[in-house]
Every structure is written in structure tokens, then in C-alpha cells.
Symmetry: C2
Subunit: 337 residues, 2 copies
DNA sequence: ATTAAGGATGTGACCATTCACAATTAACAC
DNA sequence: GTGTTAATTGTGAATGGTCACATCCTTAAT
């Protein structure tokens, strides 16, 4: 039984107990090959006996590496990739530190958040914000040489990044509706500051144009359930006819489904609805939601993996890893009657 | 324009530039009162000029405090209080480090996770697991004197903790159903290893007993949407009659609603459904879900606040802060016809 | 037997900060 | 002008590790 307040044992304590120098203990901990078998065993036994754990703060100070990755994101509530990121980071021997920014953070706020980085000797940065604030070179300067990866940023951006091809996902959704015979397609979009939202919107407009169609009634929501509900209601009130609705994310789609239900509009008989994201609950909506799936597991895994390899090799060339969404067809879409 | 790879400036660099000793710079940084006004200004200007940031690793090493709180939890996917915790921690000047455990982690795993604690000089621990693994004294020893708070643990546990009175919440739900005239109440419970699930189940049984009623068909789910769906289906297949259903969380309730819908069973006309948690989407289910709300914001806020005050005052007496859930009545419940 | 090579171990300095204490300076009263 | 006190500033050691280098001891080759 050890006392709770007992001073933690150090490298030196272990060395003394094992009858070797502190350097030898250090070698054992860091798996240095040149330690005699017998000595190593003696040291290991002393470590066990003293319940010794190397002090990371001291190690970070001496080596300049903390084995901490920092995640900068704008709204943790809906961070579905978060668990996968934590898991991946751990798997690679890192711990993830999470910092939140306000929804549409000012550059100043980002700058301030990046200060932690210097202070905590962060090894790498994952930046997961809806808006790209800085150019690559600006970002590079701000990060003071710490490697970073933009997660879910704009396609084509010239920074280390892992992104979904939003355009492709959007095409899948619209093409699906067109194939079903719909030509009056309404939209509930996300905030235009949100880069993904903007891309989804633009793609939609351009595809319809390419088919000689024009966009039906279109309103802007904020990605939350209530806004989907309110917006769908306004869409109905507007009186403009539509037979299909493209919603920029599943959460708003849920709100829209509710609004339709309350107005006696049947989905998919009267209106087909397509969402975006494929959140876990989407398959159990009423009706189950046809949506565009983004595999956030892969996003997280790729982001962390890329970042860690940048840390290992700082001169690695800048790349953008592109992931492709896929369409999941469920009960909320049907052929136009 | 500073070079990206430039060596970070230190206390000494600032001191030299300001023409004072490093100690004086340290005093300025830590807002020590006894520094001459002019000197302080000179130092501050040098700090700005060099873009100096104190090194947290060094500070942690010297002071033994890291200003990091560690959160140990079992499944990050459904951690709704997480954002609030991060926010609260930041507000109090701490950063939150998140470690995940497997769903029903072995004591060994917890022990291993606690090692980070020593290594990283963690200031305090938030433990958010569905099962209490250790007694207070065991926990105290494991934490090696680092203060900890159990979040959402069992009511009555003799450890620093912040909990919801599950029994009360459950009573609200059942009483509501009884008031509506239901006396054949079915249940979808959570895993019995999950302390909350068990409490909800036990309370339900005992309340019904007190009213001279017996529990209708009851099956166990795993808190996920699909299990709610599958379990509800089995409930129907069993043929045992029931007019109301109590589901141990909203997520499973969503699955159950879907199953009922597919079987042509109307909610609430044929069956009333009550959930638990009041997740954000619950108000938009079809029908909107009557449920027991747990204010996770308050849970998070209280937990962090309590932990931080324990850090400030280690001899603080052990307490349990109890929060009370409330019933939110929506469209999924109706009087028995 | 002698020597070179290399494995095993130890020593001193250093990482960026704080702490305890010492030393200097200024301020004020007598 | 001197002493006393308080405010301001500086010094050395410590925190718990790592790194570069030096030393010692084997071992095998000449």
C-alpha cells in the first residue's frame, strides 16, 4: 500500500535501486539495444517495484516532442469523426487535445488557439473548421513549423488536407432525383460561410443548369434540426411547387420530414427527400432517409495518419487526400408519379 | 516575417532584450505585484517583440501542475456532455485530455489509462463510465493523490461525484404513464452492467409493484438505435399485450418507433412511448418523443467546477452533487382509450 | 601477448521554467 | 545624514528527463 501523496519516483530513484546510472535506466526505457540482458532485467524489476512512470513533461522539455496532437474545431457537438480521431491518435502513440473555436471564428481567435501549440510543444495540428481562414503560407507561418492537416477543407486547396469530394456527393444525390424523374427540385442549404454548404449549393445549381432545369425554391438553414423544420415550413408556405427536396445535411432533413408530416405531405409519395452525411439515426427516420454517406471513420483515420507521417518526415510533399461520398438509397425517395 | 523553423524564444531571450534578469520576466508573466511599472512595460514590450510564449512543459515540470484535466470515458460517440466539459474546462483555465476506454473496460485498462495521469502531470480526473469499478479508497490509491470526480455515477456512492437521480427520472416517466391510465407497461432496458440502465429498470419494477401492477414484456437492448428497432419487433412478436412502452434511452426509442410504424402500430393511439435523455433530435421524431430530460450542460458544468475546486483545495470534503431530471411531455404518449 | 573494435556504462551539460533566498535599491521617518 | 523598512531585482539550485561524449571492459583478430 503506497501513500497517495507520495512523491512520484524518478529515473534517479530507479537507478539507485537497480545500482546503475540514470542514463542506463533511460536506455532501458527507450529500448536502446546496447544494454546487457542482466542489467536490463534488474532495471525493469526496479521500475516495477517503484511503480515508476517516465514524466512526459520532462521528456517533452528535453526532446522538444510532446506526443500530443491538437485538434482545432468549431463545434464539438457534431463532431462525429472525433471518436475515430482520438482512437487513431492513440493507436499511433499520440494523445489528442481538443480546442473549440466559435462557429465562424475570427482569424484572431485561431491565432490565439495556435498559441497553445507553441506553449504545449504540440507535435501536430488537425484543423477542422468550416471555413478556410488562411492561405497555406500564412498557415505555415502561424503554425511556426508545426505540421498541420486541414480536415474536410475545400477540394483543390493547396495545403496538406484530407477532404471529401462534395461535388461528387452532391452529383450523386441530384442525379438520383433526376433519374427518378424529378425536375422541380427544392433545396435547404447550409450557411454560405460553411465551405461544404456552399459547394453543395453551387454544385446543385450547376448540375440543374446543365440539364436545362432551374432550381426550385431554395432556403438557407443552419444545419440544426429546428432550422430544417422551420425552413421546410417556409418552403411550403411559399407556394412554389416542388416534387423533391435536397437538404444539405441529415439533421435538417429530420426537421423537414417532421414539417412535411405535420402538413400532411407524404414522403416519398408527394415529395422525395435526400439528405447528406448519413448520420447513424438516418436509417430509422420516418421514412428512412436516402442520403449521401461520408465515411467519417476514414476521414479521421486518414487525417491522423497523414499528420503523423508528416511529423515523422517534415519534408514530405504537400498533398491532398480526396475521399468519395456514396449514395445510400432508402425510403425517402421514389419515382415521380 | 519570421522563419518557420526558428527556435522559439525563451524567458532568457526576453530578459536579455529587456535588460533584466530572467526572474523578473517570470514575475511579469505570472503577474507578480512587485515589479516596477517601467520594468514591466519594458518586459511586456520585449515579449511582444519576440512573440514569446511561456513553455508549458517546462512550467509543468517546475511547478508540478500541467493545467490539463483528463476525461476517462467509455464511448465518445455518445458523449453529449463533452462539448460542455471542454468549454467549462477552458473557462477555468484548463485543457481537457480525452481518453477512451472499451465499453465495459476491465479494471486493468483503467489502471493503464491512469498511468497517463502520472506521466503527463494531470491536475485532475473526470471519470465517466457506466460502471463503478473501484471503491473510493481504491480509486484514491490508483489516482495517486490526483483529485477526481465521478460523473454520472451511482446515487449514494461515497466518492466525489456529480450524478442524476435516475430513480426520480424514472418515477416521473412511469407516473406519467400511470396517470394516463396505462397498466400494461412494457420495457426496453439497457445493459445491466450499465449502472444507469440497471437503476432505471429496478425503479420501474418497484414502482409498478407498489401500484400492484406487474411489468409487461421486457427486453434488453444496448442503447443503440438498431437494438431498439430489433427489440421492439421481438416485443411485438412475443404476443404479450402492452399499451405503453418505457425505453431506457431516446436512441433506442427511435428504433422502436420505426418498428411500430412498420407494423402499422400507431403511436400514441395504440401504444404510448416514453424515452430517456431528451437528445436534441427527440422533439422531431415521429411522433415527437415524450422523454425524461437530463441537462448534460449542468452535469458538465458541475463536474468541472467541482473538480477544479478540489484541485484548488485538496482537503475539500467529499460530496455528491445530485441533479434532477425532468419530464418532457410530447406527442408519443396519450391517455389509454 | 597486443591491439583494435565495439558493446556496456557513466558523467556533465542542457531543455525552460519556478522556487527560495540573497542582494540591491528606493523611500521614508527621525 | 542615517537607519529602518519595504519594494524591486538578481542568483543558484531544482524539476526529470535526454544528448553528446568519455570511459571502461570484453572480445576477437593479428
Amino acid at each position: 500500500m503506497q501513500e497517495p501523496q507520495v512523491k512520484r519516483s524518478t529515473l534517479r530513484d530507479v537507478a539507485e535501486l537497480a545500482g546503475v546510472s540514470y542514463q542506463t535506466v533511460s536506455r532501458v526505457i527507450n529500448q536502446h539495444p546496447n544494454v546487457a540482458r542482466r542489467t536490463r532485467e534488474r532495471v525493469l524489476s526496479a521500475i516495477r517495484q517503484l511503480d515508476y512512470r517516465p514524466n512526459q513533461a520532462a521528456k517533452a522539455l528535453a526532446t522538444g516532442r510532446s506526443y500530443i496532437l491538437q485538434l482545432l474545431m468549431y463545434d464539438i457537438r457534431y463532431s462525429d469523426p472525433l471518436p475515430a480521431m482520438i482512437y487513431q491518435a492513440k493507436k499511433q502513440g499520440y494523445t489528442l487535445l481538443i480546442s473549440e473555436l466559435s462557429p465562424f471564428a475570427a482569424p484572431e481567435e485561431i491565432r490565439a488557439a495556435l498559441d497553445d501549440l507553441t506553449a504545449r510543444m504540440i507535435d501536430g495540428l488537425l484543423i477542422y473548421t468550416p471555413t478556410p481562414f488562411f492561405s497555406y503560407t500564412e498557415m505555415r507561418d502561424l503554425c511556426r513549423g508545426v505540421p498541420f492537416v486541414l480536415v474536410g477543407a475545400a477540394l483543390g486547396i493547396k495545403s496538406p488536407s484530407v477532404v471529401f469530394d462534395q461535388r461528387h456527393g452532391c452529383e450523386l444525390a441530384i442525379q438520383h432525383l433526376l433519374d427518378l424523374g424529378h425536375c422541380q427540385i427544392a433545396e435547404i442549404s447550409g450557411q454560405p460561410q460553411h465551405i461544404d454548404a456552399q459547394l453543395r449549393h453551387e454544385t446543385m445549381v450547376s448540375i440543374l443548369k446543365a440539364h436545362g432545369l432551374t432550381l426550385g425554391p431554395s432556403l438557407e438553414g443552419d444545419f440544426e434540426v429546428p432550422s430544417g423544420y422551420a425552413t421546410a415550413q417556409k418552403l411550403l408556405d411559399s407556394g412554389e411547387p416542388f416534387t423533391a427536396l435536397f437538404v444539405a445535411n441529415d439533421r435538417m432533413a429530420l426537421g423537414a420530414l417532421r414539417a412535411f408530416h405535420e402538413h400532411g405531405i407524404r414522403v416519398p409519395e408527394d415529395v422525395s427527400v435526400v439528405g447528406f452525411d448519413d448520420m447513424g439515426e438516418a436509417a430509422y427516420f420516418n421514412p428512412p432517409l436516402t442520403t449521401v454517406r461520408q465515411d467519417l471513420q476514414v476521414l479521421a483515420q486518414q487525417s491522423v495518419e497523414y499528420l503523423v507521417s508528416m511529423i515523422g518526415n517534415p519534408s514530405m510533399p504537400v498533398q491532398q487526400r480526396v475521399l468519395y461520398p456514396e449514395l445510400i438509397v432508402r425510403g425517402s425517395t421514389a419515382p415521380l408519379k
